[in-house]
């Protein structure tokens, strides 16, 4: 039970794939220009991560150490292709706006990182949970970054949500500011880097405050600073 809770904390905060491990930066920075794109890629990554974690965990006892990497890559590539086909079939508009970044999920190191560091050493249930938590942690950072960039760049929220959620979601679009022309820095990649930097800085500030608060009372207890290879 405690492990379930640890995994939750790891994925969401302590060892967040985007904010702490800094994995998968390419899709993170490229598609977060709107919430819709960010959410779409976040969900796709989450599904791939859960699927690959479960599969890797199920086959972990049959795969010799020497060939584990090619096997993991094959499993991940298969899942990404399947997700891509499903998105093409059922969320066509989003598929078109995410474009090249769906196949690029294969190269998201967070996925093979979890396969190697966690799923290949733990049972399927825990691995699935790890996948959900890591995927959610990644997706939340994507969405937060997408919100910041869409709000500052275009002055809207949920622009194009109908591409992901169906026609009813067209009403979700909120126009917060009206710009004559968009604020380019937020939409272009430099804005993604700046936003990402601010998010990491904010996390560090919060961490430092938590540490400062708890330091006097529990001096001996160190904050569990986790790494990719924790929980073995």
């Amino acid at each position: 039970m405690s492990q379930v809770k640890t995994l939750f904390k790891e994925g969401m905060w302590v060892n967040n794939p985007a904010l702490v491990q800094l994995l998968g930066l390419c899709p993170l920075l490229a598609v977060t220009s709107t919430i819709t794109n960010a959410l779409g890629l976040g969900i796709a990554t989450l599904l791939v991560l859960v699927g690959s974690n479960i599969t890797v965990s199920l086959v972990r006892n049959w795969v010799p150490k020497d060939i584990r990497i090619p096997v993991f890559v094959m499993i991940i590539a298969a899942f990404v292709t399947i997700i891509q086909l499903l998105m093409n079939a059922y969320t066509f508009g989003l598929y078109q706006s995410l474009g090249i970044f769906i196949p690029l999920i294969v190269t998201n190191c967070a996925i093979i990182g979890r396969a190697e560091a966690f799923a290949s050493k733990n049972n399927a249930l825990l691995s699935a949970w790890d996948g959900v938590m890591m995927g959610l942690g990644f997706a939340i950072v994507l969405v937060v970054l997408g919100t910041m960039r869409e709000l500052i760049g275009q002055g809207t929220l949920f622009d194009g949500a109908d591409l992901l959620l169906g026609p009813w979601a067209a009403n979700l679009r909120i126009e917060i500011f009206e710009f004559d022309s968009q604020f380019l820095v937020a939409i272009l990649p430099p804005g993604a880097f700046l936003g990402m930097g601010l998010l990491i800085a904010a996390k560090n500030v919060i961490d430092a405050q938590i540490k400062a608060k708890s330091a006097p009372s529990t001096e001996s207890e160190k904050a569990p600073r986790a790494r990719v290879t924790s929980l073995t």
């Binding site: 096997v71 298969a78 086909l85 093409n88 059922y90 066509f92 194009g160 022309s181 604020f183 380019l184």
Partner: protein, 212 residues
């Protein structure tokens, strides 16, 4: 000993390759039909945007021809869909490309009626600067609608340009290259289509529903 483990690993890798490719193939065969429908719908919707529904009564994606004319830009052959109404030629929907944009090719779809007038223009793919050149998209700006109802006659051909070049189309603040490229490409495509209207309708049909 080494040979044995090589065989074993080789066999395992083969098994995994077969299993993963097999599952991809399975999903592909399940979704293929639905993807084809989606692409067809997308195409119909795109074509419907440039040509009002009361201008034709045939299935546009089942009637098209191709052209290698240099006026339509690089990347030929270009697909030209043919709209008919009660069997009479009504309009041509021309896919054309301009390499003169700010970054990369701009793909355009233009519908031209039999009298030579434009019923609609859409940019179907581009890589122009977000916030500046991307105002050629209908979702960003209504600029592209300014083509609607335009016609090009020999004496008014000079008017068919951005204002900076002495024409009647607005350019965008900070981005003249993109609208200039789009206007220029549309102009060439319209003039080409006007000259070859009957010939294009006489050409063989190359759309049997599979090609998009």
């Amino acid at each position: 000993m080494i040979a044995q483990s090589m065989y074993r690993n080789g066999a395992l890798l083969t098994a995994f390759a077969l299993a993963t490719t097999g599952s991809v193939a399975l999903v592909q065969s399940i979704t293929a039909e639905r993807i084809a429908v989606q692409e067809k719908q997308h195409l119909m919707q795109q074509l419907g945007q440039v040509l009002p529904a009361d201008e034709y009564d045939n299935l546009l994606y089942l009637d098209c021809t191709t052209s290698n004319a240099p006026e339509l830009g690089p990347g030929s052959p270009h697909i030209i869909y043919r709209a008919t109404k009660t069997g009479e030629p009504s309009a041509l929907l021309v896919r054309h490309v301009t390499p003169k944009g700010y970054s990369g090719n701009i793909d355009i779809l233009t519908a031209i009626k039999s009298d030579g007038s434009i019923t609609g223009v859409r940019v179907t793919r581009h890589e122009e600067t977000p916030g500046l050149g991307d105002k050629v998209e209908l979702t960003k700006s209504a600029w592209i609608l300014s083509f609607n109802g335009m016609n090009i006659h020999k004496d008014s051909a000079k008017q068919f340009a951005v204002k900076k070049d002495g024409g009647q189309f607005d350019q965008f603040t900070g981005a003249t290259i993109t609208p200039r490229a789009v206007v220029g490409s549309v102009k060439q495509a319209v003039m080409y289509t006007q000259q070859n209207f009957t010939a294009l309708f006489a050409a063989d049909n190359v759309c049997n529903g599979d090609t998009l």
